[in-house]
């Protein structure tokens, strides 16, 4: 058995997915009443959505928004987090704000934000930015705080100034931990993207999903959930490839994420 798994590493996850689909099929067939389409008819719905120009356009629109929000969050959060981690004054000022903001469900702010910015792109982008920022700030700050001080001393002895140390020592040293934050950020971007489109229905994948729900097109609802999940898994896998390439030099990021006390 282990020999087979070693030769075909994709086999166990495939079997797990098949088992899940079978269980779903059985559940829909034997137990459930209305509102739960069976696995087969949901899977059959997939090519209809993915073959439809409008649906594809809506999904692409969602992805674009998600990517934009993620990029804005990254550009703002990494410097902010690094400064919070390295400067005692910045930490004293910003840590309380951060503690207050962290547990607030960002999607819950959507109605308020819509009052200021309307139902268009700006509101949704802002919610995504808020959702993605906090884990990246948290991990950047924690990483920068836990950095080996003597590494910075070594750089100072070589004559490196404070800006150089932040961009050329702290940033690369903390990169593994920043990327751990980014990984959480990707999932949060997906969640805030869908929820913002659910609240401000205009376009996007979330709009398709919740409009179908309103019209009791449960096959479409479930198919969209499958598509969004697949997107999430694919993005996460792509990100892991990127992370391995960028920080192959580092120890296990989970060891870095929890520095010894």
């Amino acid at each position: 058995m282990t020999a087979i798994v070693r030769r075909l590493p994709g086999l166990p996850p495939l079997l797990a997915c098949l088992a899940l689909l079978l269980a779903w099929q059985a559940f829909a067939h034997w137990a459930a009443r209305g509102g739960v389409p069976d696995a087969l008819s949901t899977v059959r719905e997939l090519p209809l959505i993915l073959g439809d120009r409008d649906s594809l356009g809506a999904i692409a629109e969602s992805l674009r928004r998600m990517a934009t929000g993620f990029a804005i969050a990254l550009v703002v959060s990494v410097p902010l987090g690094l400064v919070m981690g390295r400067s005692r004054i910045a930490a004293a000022l910003l840590d309380p704000l951060f503690m207050i903001a962290y547990p607030v469900p960002k999607a819950a702010l959507m109605p308020l934000i819509m009052l200021w910015l309307g139902v268009g792109d700006a509101s949704k982008l802002l919610v995504i930015v808020l959702g993605v920022s906090l884990p990246i700030i948290y991990h950047s700050a924690a990483g920068a705080r836990g950095i080996e001080e003597k590494m910075l001393w070594s750089a100072r002895a070589m004559g490196m100034g404070p800006v150089g140390r932040l961009t050329r020592v702290v940033l690369p040293a903390v990169l593994p931990e920043i990327l751990v934050g980014c990984r959480t950020g990707i999932v949060l971007a997906l969640i805030t993207m869908i929820t913002s489109e659910m609240i401000a229905r205009q376009n996007g994948a979330g709009n398709i999903l919740f409009s179908a729900l309103d019209m009791a097109q449960y096959e479409t609802v479930y198919a969209m959930i499958l598509i969004v999940s697949a997107l999430g898994i694919a993005l996460d896998m792509l990100f892991e490839v990127l992370r391995a390439r960028l920080t192959g030099w580092a120890d296990d990021p989970h060891l870095i994420a929890a520095p010894p006390s």
Binding site: M151, R156, A157, M158, G159, A173, T247, D251
Partner: protein
């Protein structure tokens, strides 16, 4: 930039010129968490001459590393003065190269990248910096490991990289903070031998912090013995053993044995004002 003011190395006969490192009346007080103060170093005075290898020996908590960090410019004194090459220390600089017990390598850089880093920082082009770095990597016995990352190296190899990285930018003074303290006994002895070999060739000024008596005697021209709470210089002991030194000869030398026994007795003295 300091080249015009510091005398050239050849024109500096030992003893007669101004000391390379001049520490006078140096104290360091730390603020404790309960609001009180803790006197870590009490009126330290020490001169280190060019080309001299001086060890600072003492129990943990005697402030010997703090003293080294202040010479490096990483920690500010509370009072007193430190001058290096006749100029007061105001911060770190490439004239004083630190080597730490924690190695403190740049983990995202390869061995070559680490050793070339200071040279690049000093404005050297990539190929020139790398050529010099390769020579140093060979000198510390790591030829063939140029493209390895620090996480792929053993502790002893990491410390060789750290030594090469510091030697690369040509500091006049090496500040070594228990550099072999994190290594196993065998690797420790090997690196002591290699450091001595490197030093006997270059004769850089070295300030070497350790709590190991045999290491201090084996390497040094003078051993500064410190006591703790507060950190004070208890004695400065000259090590009049011939160089080049070979470990296997030294271990049999009665003068070496006498020094080790005397120094051990000195640092094992219980401090009189030990808190209950």
């Amino acid at each position: 930039m300091s080249a015009t003011l510091t005398p050239p190395a050849s024109a500096a006969p030992s003893g007669s010129t101004a000391p390379m490192i001049a520490i006078a009346d140096l104290s360091k007080t730390f603020r404790r968490r309960d609001g009180g103060t803790h006197l870590a170093l009490d009126r330290i005075a020490l001169d280190v001459h060019e080309g001299e290898f001086v060890s600072i020996l003492g129990p943990s908590g005697c402030g010997k590393s703090t003293l080294l960090y202040m010479v490096g410019g990483f920690v500010e004194p509370s009072s007193g003065t430190i001058a290096v090459g006749g100029r007061p220390v105001t911060g770190p600089g490439p004239d004083r190269g630190p080597v730490f017990q924690e190695f403190a390598l740049f983990p995202w850089k390869t061995v070559l990248g680490n050793v070339a880093y200071g040279l690049r920082e000093a404005g050297l082009g990539r190929s020139a910096a790398e050529a010099q770095a390769r020579q140093l990597i060979e000198r510390v016995g790591l030829k063939g490991y140029e493209s390895f990352y620090p996480k792929e190296l053993s502790g002893g190899m990491k410390q060789r990289v750290a030594i090469a990285r510091t030697l690369a930018y040509g500091p006049a003074i090496l500040l070594m903070d228990e550099p072999f303290g994190a290594l196993d006994a065998h690797t420790r002895v090997r690196l002591q031998n290699e450091l001595l070999g490197l030093w006997e060739r270059d004769r850089k000024t070295v300030l070497f912090v350790t709590h190991a008596v045999d290491e201090a005697v084996f390497l040094s021209d003078r051993v500064v013995v410190m006591s703790r709470q507060p950190g004070r210089i208890k004695a400065i002991v000259p090590v009049d053993l011939p160089r080049p030194r070979r470990r296997e000869e030294l271990l049999l030398d009665p003068r070496y044995q006498r020094l080790v026994i005397d120094l051990e007795a000195m640092i094992e003295d219980p401090p009189e004002d030990l808190p209950a």
